[in-house]
Amino acid sequence: MTELPAIAPVLVALSTGIFTLLARSWPRLQRVVVVAGTLGYAGVVGALSWDVVFASDGARIVYQVGGWRAPFGITLVADGLSVFMLAMTAVVAVYAAVFSVRFIDEHNQQVYYYPLFQFLLLGATGAFLTGDLFNLFVWFEVMLMTSYVFVAFYGNAIHTASAMRYLVLNIVGSALMLLGVGGLYATTGTLNMADMARMLAAGGVAMRPVVGVSALVFVTFALKAGLVPFQFWVPGAYRAAPLPVVAMFVGVTKKVGIYAIIRLYFTVFGTASVPTDVPGVAGDTPLAFLAPVLLVMAVASIVVGGFGALGRDSLEGLFAYSSIGQIGFIAVPIGIAAATASETLRKTGLLAGLIFALHHALTKGLLFLATGVIRDTAGTTQLSELGGLGERSPGFASVFLVGSLSLVGIPPLAGFFGKFLVFDTAGRQFATQTAGGFWAVTGASCLLAVLLVGALLTILYSTRAWMGAVWGDQTEPVQTSTVDAGEVAILATLSVIVVAVGVGFEPVYEFAEAAAESALDTDGYVDAVLGGADE
């Protein structure tokens, strides 16, 4: 069975979830199961990545669920883009799971924490692998259902209020996605992404309704990613959920939104042609409509996230706003990739977005887990009540320093390459626009300016977090605290990964390049999924 690896991550996450549920009466066994299961998940994803990207150079593994051939059944497709996202998920999930064992108190661990954690992982995995639009909606719901429970997990006034807001927003989002999916089915007559891509490329489908209806789906994806103006849920949900789960939210759930935008617009809609008349945007695909919208939202996210982070008085609030801004940094190169007509720039843009997404998942995951250590240690994350953690625990301080420096983008950490590639893409875009008239030049220079302002704001708020929490005199809560050496040790290994991604950047770059290539290779995707259909 050569196609079995494609469904393996789903199966591992699902069975780990079920086993943790069965082992609920034996907390020790449950912890062993969850750590072993998540490590197993990482192993399976690692093997899949090796198969797809490194061993066979851009192959796709297609699994037809239940033996029903595409486009009639549900298809799972593991291509470069999917496995890149899965690999990122696996790293974050392993750290979140191991950290949970130490961080979440015994009683709460027993309240379905681990089964929910595994089902959150399952939902994200399914969303990354599925090749069917309606199935994507179902996986979104799996992921959302668990995340509602996690936001309400601690069950106090503030948590239930945040969960209710998060729930209402996302149910409306899901209904909109359902409308979009229904509309796309009505116009194209298929739900299989590859089949849809084939039909759109062949022409004969009314493109205007497709582009219009896809806007509804786009809204849902942007809501998941937390792009402005759909960012309202982010600070509340991040403040309420348990911190290891917040690391999953930043590292995985948000990236599902980004992934879905790339998959739908670049892979499925990328080869369709539609009459366009958008100033400053080249090409005649639906991407031309995505580009201006995504760029405006990305720029707004960078500004709102950056200034918002400066004004927060707690670490979670600061990092929550920071992640709104960082999602903007991921969306800018993707928007440029959509706007450009040049093949190389399009690939570079996607590549930059993916690398930045990886950096953000690792770095912000590290910082949120570090916030967890602070919460455990001092019992508070209010910047005004913190200080002197560096004196208290130099080990923790160095982990926090690695996270902060990577967020700012100091070489040779992961964040440097993320930021460098984003600026590189924006710079190249600027260079191609210089001949394009006044508005094109103004637009491209505004984009560069906002990126610079965003980078500056990142330095400011990272410094603020560092000065507030780590430097200065020890405050009362810090003085009376004991730093959990186990938690710091876990984070230390994650910070080593953050450094290693930067130092050994070559394979990471190749991986992301393969992901970007497979995202743009619509024909290959269609062939892989539908190729066997004629036999």
Binding site: F134, F137, V138, E141, M145, Y148, V149, A152, G155, N156, A157, I158, H159, T160, A161, A163, M164, L167, V168, I171, V172, S174, A175, L176, L178, L179, V181, G182, G183, Y185, A186, L191
Partner: protein
């Protein structure tokens, strides 16, 4: 038929949105339920309600002429899934709203803590 469905869907969406914007938590949850059901009705409509043939609806093979007007079986399967999901969501929303009421001591969402 299409016109009747279109009017129904429009009315459901309007009513759902109206309820979603109320202060009272129970009305908000009602709004959610109606909003998702409106999406379901829309989904069925998108399959196109037309006179069936034995090709489009295999179950009709033994049915005598004339075939009744029916919608695409694929969207019916989709809606079935969507109904189950929205049932789960509504149940959770109701449970959560009771807990939120207990914790925040009011059903008026505008009086909750930020």
């Amino acid at each position: 038929m299409t016109l009747a469905l279109a009017v129904t869907i429009g009315a459901l969406f309007a009513f759902g949105t109206f309820l979603l914007l109320r202060d009272d938590l129970v009305k908000v949850v009602w709004g959610l339920a109606i909003f998702s059901q409106a999406a379901n009705v829309y989904l069925v409509t998108m399959g196109g309600v037309v006179e069936g043939t034995t090709d489009s609806v295999p179950v009709l093979a033994d049915h005598h002429e004339p075939f009744p007007a029916t919608t695409d079986p694929v969207v019916q399967a989709l809606v079935l899934t969507a109904i189950v999901i929205s049932f789960g969501m509504t149940a959770f929303a109701l449970a959560l709203s009771y807990r939120a009421y207990e914790e925040n001591e009011t059903m008026n969402v505008t009086e909750w803590d930020r």
